[in-house]
Amino acid sequence: MKNIKTILIIAAALITFSACSLDKFPDNAINTEEAMESVADCEAFRNGLYSGTKGVFTGAYVYVPDLQADLYHAVKNFGNFQGAWYHYSVTTSEGMASSAWFGLYSIISNANFLIEGTQKLLAAGTLDEADTKTVELYYGEACYLRAHMYYQLCCYFCADYDPDTAEEFLGVPVVLEYAPTGDSSKYPSRPTLQATYDQILADLAEAEKYVTVAGSVGSAYITADVVTALQARVALMMHDYDTALLKAKSLIDSGKYRLVTDVRTFADGWTNDNLSETIWQAAMTGPDDLGNAFSYFIYNTSGKEGEDNPQYVPEDWALNLYDKENDIRYQSWFDTRNITTPVVGTLTLLVKYPGNPKLYSAVTNYVNMPKIFRISEMYLIAAEAAVNKGGQDLVASKYINDLRAARIAGWKNTDYSGDALVVELRQERVRELFGEGHRMNDLKRWHIGFTRSAGQNPELVMPGEKYAGLSMEADSPLFVWPIPVDEMQANPQMTQNPGYTNN
């Protein structure tokens, strides 16, 4: 019997010693619950958040809305690259709609996580003054980025904001905390467009409070000026012309960001991403740190000189808006070249994003750092706000003239008013912002449609009423992107946009 006792003790000991801990964690990732505990953690998430800006302001995020509009013609044999957007055959499973939806919300969720983390850290009251400042800045930046991403979502997935209809149209779901779940009953529905914009304004107000870093030319980070610039852009969208004018004017008047006036500096600024008029530019440091390539569809897929094979070329009417002899924009951004594929002939191509030599080693990859805000846009916002306020045609004219004086050699100031002023303003937006992804939003805001015109060389562009001959009515529901099918299937609370079958 002594044996048994001994044996039982040994057995009990064996079990006790052999039990393993069941809490195991990977060595290449951090448990989410423990990932936000210090200022350094906040900073890592801040870098992660900023990293996202390299992607969502480049490539298809920028050119797809332009392809939807009247800036480009597809050439023959264009291979239907992003063709569904161009000829309005978009379905709910279109790739870019899905990329934008999931991509932008992914940044929002990281922003939410950082906002919660910074708030918790600040509430704990354990930080010294310097750290408090830093964490507050991160909080403000996260609020800003959340606002900007919601604004981008509205641009892609919502109708134009009009104060009269903003309570009727749908916005995008507003999610303010990071709480991912597979429980579809907990997924949010779409609030009104008004509610979505209210959230954007609220976040911008927080950003204004905590991002007090003074602006600087080409800043890689969000500054007080960046917040102001987005406030101006959003205010114009919301028909809040007083604010739009006020904010745009304050940036112009600061004198910090100078419009470039000579063609060499201008072309160099676009190639090497060092424009003196940039308020915020997402930073990329080298060939292994890139955003999306821009111009694959616009002019060249091989990157080699003499091998241009554009899928899309600028429409003639837009090119003809420029004073081709004197406008530094035309001279910097467009180039007439002989093409052998996919068509043979001479075409004028957009060469606005030639690729920054710092970002490739041998052959260009057509990656440039996105200039998310430039001071010239503020001139255009100020002018448009002034026109819409009424009785300020002279103010508006002045902003247009100031911009043109910088861009066009020998420009003589001209005062515009009434409808002529509106036409001038709208044309100037095309000239100044060509290829920067604003055109579709402008058409929505101005409630106008378009008809694609004859091509630069009608022999070389895709003919037919779905292509070069396409006509779209004002406020077409198809200007608005579809909610992607993956979202529709996953989220029973989701409402599809008009004009798309719900599958």
Partner: protein
Amino acid sequence: MKRIRLFFTVMVMLLASVSAFAQNITVSGVVTDSNDQPVIGATVMVAGTQTGTSTDADGQFKVNAPSNGQLIVSIIGYATQTVDINGKTFIAIQVEEDAEFLDATIVVGYGTGQKIGNIVGSVTTVSSDEIASRPSANIGDALQGKVAGLQIFNTSGEPQSSVSVRLRGESSLNLSTAPLYILDGVPVSSDVFNSISPQDIENISVLKDASSTAIYGSRAANGVIFISTKKGKQGEKPSVSFRGQYGISMLTNYNMEMMTSEQLFQFEEICVPELKFDPAYQAEKAFVLGNGINFDWTDYLFNDAAPVLQADASIRGASEKTNYYVSLGYYSEKGTAKANSGVDRFTFRTNLDTQVTDWLKFGANVALTYSGYQTIVTGWYTQSPILQAVTALPYKSPYEIIYNPDGTISWGDPYEVYPWDNMIDLNKYYEKNTNMKENLSLMGQTYFLLTPMKGLTIRAQQAIDGYDYKGEAINYPSYEPFSARGRNSQAFERYYQLSSTNTVEYKTDINKKHFFAALAGHESFIRHTESFNATGTGLTDDRIVNFGSTTDISDWAGGTSECAFNSFFGNVNYNYADRYFLDASVRTDGSSLFGKNHRYATFYSFGGMWKAKSEPFLQNVNWVNDLSLSVSYGTTGNAGLNSWYESLGLVGAGPKYNGKAGWALAQVPNADLTWETVATLNVRLHTRLWDRLTLGLEFYDRLSSDLLMELPFSGTTGHASGMGNIAEMKNTGVDLDVELDLVHTKNVYWGVRANVNYNKNKITKLYQGLDELAFPDYSLKYQVGMPSSLVYTQVRAGVDPQDGAPMWYDLNGNLTKTYSDDIMQFCGMDTNAPWSGGFSTNFSWKGLGINADFSWIGERWIFINERYYTMNPQNLLFSSNFETKMLDIWQKPGDVTDIPKYGTQFYHDTARFSNASFMRLKNLSVSYAFPSEMIQKSKVLSGLKIYLTARNLWTVTDFAGYDPEVGASNATSGMYPNSRQFVFGAELVF
């Protein structure tokens, strides 16, 4: 001599006097086993003394002992007995077999095992002689076609390759469908099939139903493969045996019928009629045909006599207290591809058990395996030999043509790069681009067995299963066609699993009528894996290619993962009069793999068996030798996740900004994540009639629930998807085993065996009430009520005879020429075979034995990716060879054919699938064992056997790809083709 005799006389007298003093008596007796057979060599000791003796050939003994003393009888294989003398001079002692050593006993699960006929669960056992001599590095290959419901595919002919194993259909959509492997009671990884020497295996049991597997809990959803290695046997003469075998490998039946030079010219002229008037083309054609150039690329790239050899030696036996089995083995096989591929493997094993005292026993099994193997690129790459063999142009030759002055030609050296298409010569490529791998694996276990009282067994087992792997890929600097030359890539991997298993078991009976056994146990294990790899570049000379001589490092990576399980389990079984059996098991598993809220789960099973033959009313029915019916129900789990951290919310490093490192949310936390559960109902009928016919029929119903899937999330969560336990699926089927002894006389035996499985799979539930979920890119759709592996694609409806355009069926069954995702549909093709089985026949006459094993599967469809080359002239005319059936290409209105006109886009549709049903003569062997009278004359040998074995000798299939077995999931695409072996061997026993 005299002195010695004197000395002994004195000694005997002294002893006698001592005995007299202690009132000793002479006790004689006999030791028998439970069958009343004498037990030879048992030790009979007088308790408390060093006095003792052994039983003789009749089991008898004689010993002097105190009349009031005790005798202790012990022998390995039997429970030790203590008997009171009580003055008796003759004692008959019956010893009971120690269950650990019973021949007819197998251990499936924990504890000391049960008699095979008493197991309630569904267990099929394959014995060693069906495995040992197979010319394959992977013992799984030998199981093919042996067990009803066990589908095994040798998905590659690479000598060191794994097999795909699936039991009773696919029980999971995304998790592992591989069974749990247990080696001598220790859970091990599936690598065991490659690292164990076949000669070391005593038997392999396949555990199919819940009653036999629930005790393994969360890892047993796909069944359990229980491997027992050999042990020394008490009562058997120690034996030393040697086995040597040598043979050759070649490709198996090669089913792709490709064009000859002449046919290919003809075909090219059909596609491009202008070629008939193209002088350059015609000159080339005349040259090729005139010189009889019709190059056999398969022969160029593959060997038809690659050597395979095997040599084993083992010693097996037992002494009084200890039994042992020691072996070493060598296996070497060259791949059929001339490109350098092959394996050299050394195996060492020692199995040892010893009875220390009457209550303590311990043992150790230790096996070491070293494998060095060379692999080549397979799959969808230009370096894949089979792809080149299939697609290379027969009117071109890798050898440079030398034009002789007399107008004839002769052949020079092979090109390094073929000038006509810039493809590389693979034989040369693999000389200068090597990929050597080395694996050292260790499987070791020790156990202590305590029997403090009769019927009570306490067992503590500790084990390690691990490997250390190194891979070295070298791209020699002198190999110019490869831009990344001068590289040395190193990969290191280390894995181990430490486990500890402790059980307490108690067996008893009441009046030999009610038999009870109860077992409780605990098991813990931890798995650890780590890896590191890096690529060095900048080597400049073929003579210095070591890693240290590289100048730059790129592509480095490394990491560690760990997971752990803690489990408690129990089993009770009861049997009344050998007639009624009940069995119940329960296991609670805790695992680090799963979410905080669902870390522990419990699995259970109940089973019952009625052994009708034991009933009085059947005992005298002579033509029924055996009849039993059993039913079991229970649950098991599947924890075969790809990552060990799926339940955790994770933040990953990676995104950087402005030169600074950043983090981002990477994985959704799911504290509820848990294992998949499979609930199995199993009904089994087993009978043997007329002492000739054995029939086993089983019906099963396996419901898999909580299936893990990547669940699409609302983008508003910040994630596109997350893992969730969300679907249900069912496998229902029948296993049938038949064994028939056709002739069974003293000298002649001829018998046949066959097994068949039919399995029906269907999805019964998807998440959120969805009826279907399509993955068009993968030709897959999950639909409630339909099998999970049905091909979902466009259905080809032939070719319009009028214009040669391909046609498809739309969803209403009408013909359409518009190819789109909208006409994707189920087309009745399943990539998992619902039918499978095997049959074998054994014939023996005196020492001569003939054995043939067939295995087959039915109604499996495979996507032939090679057809992108072999049936796609629109993209690849002049750069690829084509299947001869392409000569039927549509040419003019009115042509009725399945091949669309030249210039038609190549579509992904049912025309790229082929029925991969096959029947394969897996093994044919002829052996001769020399008669023992003859052998024994040698005084040295006690057995000699020679044999000839052919593997994969004959295959019947309609499959249009090169091999129906190659194709891991549902496609063949440039995989290493299977091989056929002819082997001669001899086995010597001393």
